[in-house]
Symmetry: C14
Subunit: 92 residues, 14 copies
């Protein structure tokens, strides 16, 4: 296999596995926080607005770790510097 094939295959596999593994933690963490938020609203309805606001700011923070994975995954597919190097090195 020539270099281009190796780089492309590794990039494809890594892009997929990165977002796949990287979405488990945030999804579980967000699900837990969301579950507790609903329980808290049921317990203290008068504080629903405070709880909801804190929830969504916090969820955004947890979501950020999934975003990191998505960003890396997208970079590997559409803006991969190693791939660009080998494309330029390939004689046309």
């Amino acid at each position: 296999m020539d270099s281009n094939t190796v780089i492309a295959a590794v990039s494809i596999f890594t892009a997929g596995i990165t977002i796949a593994i990287g979405s488990m933690g945030p999804a579980l963490g967000e699900g837990r926080a969301l579950a507790q938020a609903l329980s808290a609203i049921a317990q203290q309805p008068d504080e629903a607005s405070t709880i909801t606001r804190t929830l969504f700011v916090g969820l955004a923070m947890v979501e950020s770790t999934a975003i990191y994975c998505f960003v890396i995954s997208m970079i590997l597919i559409f803006a991969n510097p190693f791939w660009n190097y080998f494309l330029q090195a390939t004689p046309k």
Copy 2:
């Protein structure tokens, strides 16, 4: 095996495994949040509308991590830039 075969095989395998692993976290997280929501409604029926609204906004956020995986998976099958490159490079 020539380059096209390698890239196609890796793309197929990665597309499947990405959505397979990537759907576990969100499914478990959503199931947990949903379970707590039902418990909260039973505990505080008067707040059912607030709880339901918060639940679905939150579920959408958790679902987003599954969507990321689905998007990557679809890109790898139908809009794979590496595959397109090798298709153009193949003499016809």
Copy 3:
């Protein structure tokens, strides 16, 4: 092994493993939500209709992640673009 064989073998294996792994998360999540729903109905029978409605809307959302896997699995078997490419490339 020629290209067609490799692509077919990878497609078959991935299609199976995708739906196999991808059905664990939703099944466990739905089972948990369903269990809590029954507990909630027993606790607050008067809200049974609200609980049931929320349950099935939520279950549909959890089921969606299993559907993603099923869709990818079916695409890999019956509408696989890589397989179609190699079929056309094979001299008849």
Copy 4:
């Protein structure tokens, strides 16, 4: 090994492992829901009919993920498009 052997071996292995792994999640999820249903009936006997009805509709939904795996498994054994292709390609 020729192509037919490879495709047949992969199909057999995938068919078995798909239903094997794919039946764990639904079985555990259904067991949990069923356990809670019995507990709910014991707690609120008057609502037994509502609980039982919700239980079986929900179980059917959880079972659907096992059905997906069974369908894929059966397709791979009895209606495998890749296998059919190679059968036709084999000179008689």
Copy 5:
């Protein structure tokens, strides 16, 4: 190794591992449901008949996922279409 040997070896191994893995989930799920049923009977003896009836209908549903595995396992041993194909292809 010729094709017949490969197909036979894969069929044997898959048949065993399918029922082995596939019996864990249902056994654990049924054990859990059964345990809760006994607890429910002890708590509400007057509802023993309702609980027992619901239990056995539910157990049958959980058992169905083990049956799927057993069916696939038996098909692979006694009615394996791939094996039949290679048997006919073998010159006598």
Copy 6:
């Protein structure tokens, strides 16, 4: 290695591993149900006969998944159709 050796080795290994893995789930499930049964008897001694009857019917159902594994295991050792085929094919 000739075909007979491969088939025999795979059959032996699969027979052992099938019953080994396949006995874990039922043993754990039965242990759990049994434990709860004893707890239920201690809680409601008057219902001991109902509890014990339900217990043993349920245990038989859980045991059935272990029986499936034992049956497959025995078939692989003493009534293995693939082994019989190769025995007949071996010149004497």
Copy 7:
């Protein structure tokens, strides 16, 4: 390696691993049931005879899955049909 060596090595390894893995589930399940039995006796001393009787009948049922493994293990060592076949096939 000749056939006899392969069959003997596989039989030895499988015999050991079968009983090793197969004794974990029953041991844990029996330990759990036994623990609950002692707790139940402490809670309801008057029912000690009923509890003990149910315990030992149940333990025997759980033990049966370990027995299955032990039987397969012993068959593989002392009454292995495949080994006997190869012994007879070996020229003396």
Copy 8:
């Protein structure tokens, strides 16, 4: 490597791993039962003799699964029928 070496190496490794894995389940199960027994004695000192008697009979039953592993392990080292066969087959 000749046959004797292979059989000896496999026997040594299997003998060790069998008792190693096979002692985990019984040890954990016995520890759990023992812990509950002490708790039960503290709760109901008057029943100490009944509890202790049931405990030791039960422990013996759990221990039996460890004994199975020990027996297989000892047979593989000191009374291994396969080893004896190859010893007799070795020219002196």
Copy 9:
């Protein structure tokens, strides 16, 4: 494969797997802290500001471990000293 290809492939794979694994811990940890924060607000609404402030300072600290992984991941893609060395060493 020449050196450039190896280094590029390893860098791509490591960059993806680093952020994928590295985002699980922080996401789960933040989800847990967030869940408890919402529960604490519901319990003590008057301290909402103190709780929220402590929460976000703490989340930033947990997030820092994810940032470490993201930084390493970005360095490996865009400022990789090893890659730069091999680029300079490659004759143009």
Copy 10:
């Protein structure tokens, strides 16, 4: 590698791994029983002598499974029948 080296290497590795894995279960089981014993003494100081006596008899039983592993481990190092056979077979 000659036979002696293989047997020695396998014996060394198995001896170590046997006692390493085999000491986990007993250590955890004993720790659990010991913890409960202390809790029981604190709860019922008057029964300290009965509890302590039962504890040490029970611990000895749990320890026995570790002893099995230690015995096998020692046999493999100092009284290994396979090693002795090969020593005698080696020409001096």
Copy 11:
């Protein structure tokens, strides 16, 4: 592959995996401590300052283990003594 390539590849992979694995423990540990801190503040608002101070000193101590990993990771990328040795040994 020459020495430089091997060392560079190993350094890149190790740097990534070190911080990836090494950030899981601290992130989970900090999340747990933070969650308890918020619960403690809600329970005892008057001690908020003492709790917060102890929390951040403790978090710094937990964070130190992540810092160790980050330091090793950075040393491997930017101040790797082995890499420097091989750079000097490479003829220019």
Copy 12:
């Protein structure tokens, strides 16, 4: 590689891994017993001497399994009978 190298390498690796794995169980078990002991002292200060005495006798028993591993580990490094054999067999 000659025999001495193989035996030395295996001895080194086994010695390390034996004590590494073998120290996990005792450490966790001792930590659990110690934790409960402190809780028991806080609950029943008057029995501190009995609890402490039972604790340390019990800890010594748990520690014994770690000692077994340490002994095997030390034997493998400093009194390895296989190593001594090969040393004597090496011509000087």
Copy 13:
């Protein structure tokens, strides 16, 4: 690969993996202790100074196991006796 390359590669990989794995246990253990400390302060504010003092002495003891790993890791990078030996053995 020559000896220097092997030693350097193994040293780099081991240094990273040692501190990565070695930081998980201490981080989790410290997080648990810290969480309990905050809970204890909230429960008994008057004993805050005693609790804090015990906490930090204890944390230092837990941290010591992480330090062991860090020390080994640093020795492998900067004071590796094996590396020094091979450096001296390399002809200049």
Copy 14:
């Protein structure tokens, strides 16, 4: 690779992995004991001195298992008898 390289590489890898794995158990066990100690002090401040004394004696016992690993690790690096043997055997 010559003998010296093999021995050195194995020694380095084993030294690292020994202390890495070996520090997990003690760290978790100590963290648990420490957490309970702080809880015990908060519950019974008058017994703080007894609790603290028992804690540190116990921690030293748990720490001993980590010390075993550290000792083995150090022996493998600085006083490795196998390494010394090969050093003496190497012609200078």
